[in-house]
Subunit: 209 residues, 2 copies
Amino acid sequence: MKYLKIPAATISRLSIYSRALEELAQGQETVVSSKRLAEICGVNPAQIRKDLAYFGQFGVRGVGYFVKELLFDIKKILGLNKQWKLAIVGCGNLGCAVVAHESFVQQGYNFVCAFDVDPMKVGLKLATGITIHHVDRLVDVCRLEGVEIGVICTPPNSAQEVADRFREVPVRGILNFAPVQLQVCDTCRVEHVDFTVKLDNLAYHLTAN
Amino acid sequence: MKYLKIPAATISRLSIYSRALEELAQGQETVVSSKRLAEICGVNPAQIRKDLAYFGQFGVRGVGYFVKELLFDIKKILGLNKQWKLAIVGCGNLGCAVVAHESFVQQGYNFVCAFDVDPMKVGLKLATGITIHHVDRLVDVCRLEGVEIGVICTPPNSAQEVADRFREVPVRGILNFAPVQLQVCDTCRVEHVDFTVKLDNLAYHLTAN
DNA sequence: GCCTGTGAAGACGTTCACAGCA
DNA sequence: TGCTGTGAACGTCTTCACAGGC
C-alpha cells in the first residue's frame, strides 16, 4: 500500500465513497459499479477506479465492487478500523455540536476529554458524560487519556495558544474550527474547517455574473 | 473583471488573504509585500501575485500592496461590499454556533430568519433576536425576508428535503453542514462544510506511515 | 535594490479510451 | 457483453524566472 504519492483529493473522496457505501449497505445492496457509485457521489467513474487503484484491486471485472468488502477496505485505508481518542477545546455551541455529532462516534472517533477557559463551565459534564477541565490542565489530562487528535473550537485569538499546548502533549493531529492559520511543527498535521471561506465562495459566485 | 476562468482555489485564497489583511490593517500596517502576506497565509508569493492578477493590478512595483486598498478590493471581488441575507435551518447546537459566529456579522452576513421542525423550539428567539419558525413556513418566510443564501444545519436525513424547499423559494446559494451530497438545480450553488471528511483525512495521515 | 506582473515551464490531477477478464 | 484496471492524453493549477517600473 501507498507506493505512490496519493493526491489529497483522493483521500477526501474515499471518505465520501465510504459514506455512500454505508448507505448502500444499509439498503441491502450487495454489488455496486463504479458508474453507480459515481452518480451517488457526483464524480467521474474513472476517478473512482483510479482512486482505488492507488491502494490495490478491489473490484471484479464485468461485475463491480462488493459493497461490504469495499466499505471495509476503504475504512481500513482511512484508518477507521480503530478507535481514535480526541480532545475538544472550547465547549461553546460549536464544541458541543462537534462532540455530539452522531457520525463521529459511529466512525470510531471518541471524545475522551474536554476543556474550556470559563471557570463557570469547568466541572460541568457534556451530554456524552465527559467532564470539562480547565484548559490549563490540557497537557496533563491529554497525556493521561492518550489523546491522539485535538479539536479546537475556541475563538480565533486563543486558537494558536491551544495549538501550542497540543504540541506539548504531543498530539499528532489537529482539527481546527477557528478562522486562523495555525503554526505547528512538522510532526503535527492540521485540518482546517473554515465556514467563512465557504461562505465567501458562495458570495463570490452569487455576485460574479 | 473575470475575463478568464478563475480557479476555485484562487477564490478560497482570496478569502484567506482578506482575513490576513484585516489583521494587518488592525495592526496599523499600511503596506505589505506578497512575500510577507505569503508567509502569513502559508502560500507561495507568486501564487498571491497570480491570484490578484486575474482581477487586475493592485500593487506598486518596488513597494508592495497598500493594506487597506487591497483589503477593499478583495472584498469587492468576493462580493463582500454588500449585506447578504441568510436563513438558517436547524437550531441545534451547530445552528446556534453558526448564527452566533462573530466573523459572519462582521463580514456582512446577516441571518434574517431561522427554522426548526421541533414544535418546542418554534416561537423561541435566538441570541441575535430572530424568531424560530416552523420549517413548513420556510418558503413563505424566506420570500418575505428576501433570503439569498440558505444554511442547512439539520441531521443528514432531512437535509435534502430542506434543500428542495430552498429551491422553491428560490435561493441561489446553500451552505450545507449536513454530511450528505445534496441534489440541486443548476441555478443553485452548494458549498459543503464537511467535518467528517476532514477528520478522516487526519485519521488517514496519522495512520499512513 | 526591491517588489510587482506575467509568460513559460513544471507539477499535478482528471478524464479518456481501451486492453483484460469474469 | 459488462465492468474493472490502467497507460496515455488532456486540462488545470502552481511555481519559476525575469522583464518592467518605482
